[in-house]
Symmetry: C2
Subunit: 428 residues, 2 copies
């Protein structure tokens, strides 16, 4: 196919006309498809149904140390869950707190605590005139929602294939004391699928923040969420790297089993330095007597150990890999060589990031919606929902059945072609 | 027995001598007993083991409306859990949010949200020079810990057999705009076992707070936690009463199944007006995608309905009633008529509240501890752990096996006698 930008006005007009007829056929189908959220599909959830059988009324619900998981207590989580999630996160169990069902909740609470009480004795953020966060873009809308909710000013930093633009991160963090944090999804990033290069992690660990209470919010949501056996990304472990660099307290690392077992009923965890843990525990003891230990025990009994979890993740991969590949194939077949969009081909995670011609994303998403296909809102991957280029669209292939997904992807490419052709026409 | 205050110096000295010998025998036993926390005992936890069997890998984990409980979503909880906990709380399901495993966490988050964002558009409390809470005393230490943590000034208000001193509550709330809340355990209160009289609830609902964002924190932790079939307390439902009084938004009502199923793994709930719910949901959507719906479903399937839950609570009562009665009997046998202490005889809840002669509580608890019996710290039932009379001690009879409990109660009465006799001697 020819590049759209090289087409004449007449060619583009003819193209729009024929594509629009095709679009009308889709509209007549009354579709109701959803590629908007990074949700596991039913078959993935079924993989963990065995978890419903590991604790029965005949089982002893005690931990290895004798703690009765049914009763109150054990604020930081049961030891065997710390071991399991420690192995998952590549951190020592002593550096871990096990929480409830949502790592987003842990991140929210971490920001909330910094707002009202400050970090390790520093001024509470709510007492400061200005607090800012760096937000690598495109990024995760729910991260940005937390900082927006707390009135924290968000500064976008561009991502490339190695991670955030570290020249920019270093420049900003070292020069502005009001910059207190940065949101990172370091592996199979939401939405780009990028895994931070060794150099990027090295430079993160060696940051010299102007703010002594600057923290890296390292959301390792997809640490073991590979799509392939033979093409897996590795990233440098950030806690160890920060410690080596003399910045042991600079990072909060988050993870959960939300996309390993059940998104609504997993367990979340935080890994950080002992100093940070002490700071956090001094707050946490006022917030709760403890999280759901029975569910922690259920996870441990189900997986046994990290090898069990790894094998489990291969089954997830087997279900969702064909979905990623189907979308990538349709994108390639329909848009390859046209010069109107680019997309990522991740080795793991939950998303494909699509970058259209500038000024087209909103209209593409809108056209999809009108034909019954829900995409993540254009702009969602930027702070304040404002993508200055209006070009990034997050594609979430995991949830729909594969036939629905293919149909949705076909429609998506069709809408992309129409919107971009019209855009080019409008510029002639 | 004669009243200690009527004894001569010689009689008291002889008494202290013989009691001290008895105390020494207890010390030699190397006891390790715990009457400090309101924890269910093993037999109580065993009552809910059937909950481990209601969801298996053969079951459909969908709600009545088809929602797959395993996946993300349903921020405010599944409908059937709202119905069940609504029946438990005597509130309409539409007025309820179902949370995670801890109502304390919900209360903490409620205060935290008011601190950073204010209530229904009012100034965030962290922006005010002074925020105060009323704290009926004796009360629940974990309530007081939350307000202390947020730097909220706590003002004690005396409890009597009908609830808090409402003259004082009305006077303070109507005159001081910095008073933003009051901690209440309205039924089988922690620690007094008091249930608020109809008049007290009526007066609560008709408060005319100086602060428009004043809220009653109504922790109905023991709503269905009766000890007797034939002696049950009833309290007026506060949401309905506030609505009738033209104060529909004035109350947050909390509850959980912590002392119904498993303290570590129950479900918590909040009931409040639709205005408050909207305010809360606007925050909650930034904090989490949803709480553990599988555990909500597990509770619903286990109980079926409120009748199932009520029958379940009778089994709890059968286990703990003898423990309360054993402690009450030992208190009566050993301290009755001595004029050195009084105690409550609750119809439900988890505690007996003991009031010793003034200036003796710390020493009694300390003597118990030295002989291997852990009591709740004296002072814990007051804000800042400061009981100005040094007289209140919370007794928690549920957790220890009954023989241990009897031994602990015997020792407790012995220590009380020694400390009070010495106190009287020191005043001669």
């Amino acid at each position: 196919m020819a590049k759209y930008s090289e087409m004449s006005k007449e060619e583009l007009e003819a193209l729009v006309k024929s594509l629009s007829e095709e679009y009308k056929k889709y509209k007549d189908k009354d579709l109701s498809l959803d590629m908007s959220r990074g949700k596991p599909c039913r078959e993935q959830l079924d993989l963990s149904m065995g978890m419903m059988d590991v604790l029965t009324s005949n089982d002893d619900l005690s931990c290895e140390d004798g703690t009765d998981c049914r009763n109150y207590g054990t604020l930081s989580g049961i030891q065997e869950a710390k071991v399991l999630l420690g192995d998952m996160m590549e951190n020592h169990p002593d550096n871990i707190i096990i929480y409830g069902n949502s790592s987003l909740n842990v991140m929210y609470d971490t920001v909330a605590r910094a707002m009202t009480h400050g970090i390790m004795g520093h001024t509470p953020w709510c007492k400061l005139d200005k607090v800012k966060f760096l937000c690598p873009v495109p990024g995760y809308d729910r991260h940005f929602a937390i900082t927006e909710y707390f009135g924290i000013e968000m500064i976008p930093v561009q991502m490339d294939e190695n991670g955030p633009d570290m020249d920019e991160v270093e420049r900003l963090v070292s020069s502005d004391e009001s910059i207190k944090g940065i949101w990172c999804v370091p592996k199979y990033a939401n939405p780009t699928g990028t895994s931070y290069s060794d150099e990027v992690v090295h430079r993160f660990a060696r940051l010299k923040p102007a703010a002594p209470d600057f923290r890296i919010f390292w959301d390792n949501a997809y640490g073991i969420h590979h799509l392939y056996d033979d093409r897996q990304d590795y990233i440098v472990e950030i806690l160890a790297e920060c410690k080596k660099a003399g910045n042991p307290d600079m990072v909060y690392k988050f993870a959960s089993t939300s996309k390993i077992t059940f998104p609504g009923s997993g367990i979340a965890s935080l890994a950080t330095s002992l100093n940070n843990l002490e700071d956090i525990t001094n707050q946490l003891k006022n917030q709760t007597i403890g999280h759901d230990k029975v569910n922690q025990l259920r996870h441990v009994r189900f997986f046994g150990d990290i090898h069990g979890m790894t094998e489990h993740m291969r089954k997830h991969a087997d279900i969702i890999r064909p979905k990623f590949e189907a979308v990538e194939q349709i994108l390639e077949e329909n848009l390859g060589g046209l010069g109107i969009g680019e997309w990522t081909k991740p080795n793991g995670g939950y998303f494909i990031s699509f970058t259209s011609m500038e000024g087209c994303a909103k209209e593409i998403v809108s056209m999809c919606k009108k034909a019954g296909v829900k995409m993540t809102d254009a702009g969602a991957t930027w702070p304040y929902h404002k993508d200055p280029y209006d070009s990034n669209i997050r594609i979430a292939p995991t949830y729909p059945p594969i036939d629905d997904l293919k149909l949705a992807a076909q429609l998506f490419t069709l809408c992309t072609k129409i919107v971009c052709a019209k855009k080019l026409l409008s510029q002639m």
